[in-house]
Amino acid sequence: MKTYENTGSKDTRSGFGAGLTELGRTNEHVVALCADLIGSLKMQQFIDENPERFFQIGIAEANMMGIAAGLTIGGKIPFTGTFANFSTGRVYDQIRQSIAYSGKNVKICASHAGLTLGEDGATHQILEDIGLMKMLPGMTVINTCDYNQTKAATIAIADHKGPVYLRFGRPVVPNFTPADQKFEIGKAVQLQEGNDVTIVATGHLVWEALEAAKTLNEKGISADVIDIHTIKPLDKEAILKSVKKTGCIVTAEEHNYLGGLGESVARELSLEHPTPQEFVATQDTFGESGTPAQLMEKYGLNADAIVKAAQKVVKRK
């Protein structure tokens, strides 16, 4: 098995902030918008260096999405920043009409996604955003797993023409992907090679999948682990290649099983290679207050849950 070293835990939102800062220095077309959450989104460095290219919108997310769409008319590449809940559900029709249907080159950057937002509770813990965004024609949907990957993704999406939803989070998590990685939209990353079960994970669940693979290995189950940072367009070739080898699959995500990564994977498999699948995801429920670790344990979104799902799906082969 390959060994992955945590080079120092950080929050993925800081990866976004670092990527945005670099874009501020390298791409004059990039502008940033925020709805009263500069600190949470780690945007201060970009603002300090490019005050004329930053737009403080206030607590008015619908207006932010419209202004972002308008800024593209004139050649700007707007990056909007707020929590995932306010980046999607609150402004769905604005994104649908003014950005997606209008084909505008807006990058919707969403922090504090999922349960790991923690103590603020369910009002802020959106678990439906991947589904909302992936249903929009032309929308690219990315959910990054650590600081380095989030930074690389932030930089990469500036060069992609078209709307993008970039999802990341609040908590400090292991940073284990290479600092110098080249982020390729729509290209899965093979993390472990195995023969007995495929584990496809996204976001914070990728590290948990690596931990689960170690445990499974001790139990005599070898896992193929794939980091699927891009949920749309989905790298179906990588998934199909793996399940043709292993014969079963676990998908893992910090999202409702309805509308998430697991459903996208299931669709591809049902069309091309029907395969037993287990879903590590929330089970059509809202979250609640608690620490991130408590919540991920209670709602079954950690390495233990992945191990159990893998053991179950192997028996279904």
Binding site: V31, E52, G58, G66, I67, G70
Partner: protein, 281 residues
Amino acid sequence: MADIQQLEAFVTQVRRDILRQVHKVNSGHPGGSLGCAEFFVALYQEVMERRDGFDMDGIEEDLFFLSNGHISPVFYSVLARSGYFPVEELNTFRLLNSRLQGHPTTHEGLPGIRIASGSLGQGLSVAIGAAQAKKLNKDKHTVFALMGDGELQEGQNWEAIMYAAANQVDNLIATVDLNGQQIDGSTDKVLDLGNVRAKFEAFGWTVLDIEDGNNLSAIINGLKKAKSLSGNGKPVCILLHTVMGNGVDFMMHTHAWHGKAPNDEQLADGLSQNPETLGDY
């Protein structure tokens, strides 16, 4: 200024285009379209500084955003007759595979359209973004927007109105089509808008009224005055007092023709009131 009589003739033809578009497909929105025919003609034929051809970024030219997208028939007619696409294409309004969708969209690549609209309340925010992009690009041109009065019931407008004043978006002229009508009746009865002038002024806008919003000279003078008022630290709002259905007597002063097409007889009646001037498509 262009000869007013020529512009009147242009308006008459636009009215014919509106009626014929919605009649052919037995759907669409003639009432608000007719009420704004003079405004669109004044804007595109007299007021806006436009470049030849169409480029999405619209650098070094004035831009226009239609927020109340359901009045697409007047928008399409004036765009076509201003050279953005062939006038004959008005024949395809609302048909399958057409670039002239029920509500305007960039999706089919129709020249002249820079944003999809139809779901109300979104256009002003987009216009603000485009105006701020112009400032970043050091482009001195103006961004125009049109909203319906009923549309002001959408909350996003007030986010945008607050933002534009607070951020001194003074290269923006937003017009409200005050025809006093919406689908379920008069705006007073459905949800009273109150004093729209006082509201815009309280938010920090410069406001001017065009009392006869169906009089070409009054509109041109008002738009030019608005342009002269821009660049002074405040966004400018024009309250355009129009008559819904203007120019077709049986469609005037009622919300009944908001989203209803004339039948054959009614079409003939409407066309007889507006003789062909520039040539039907």
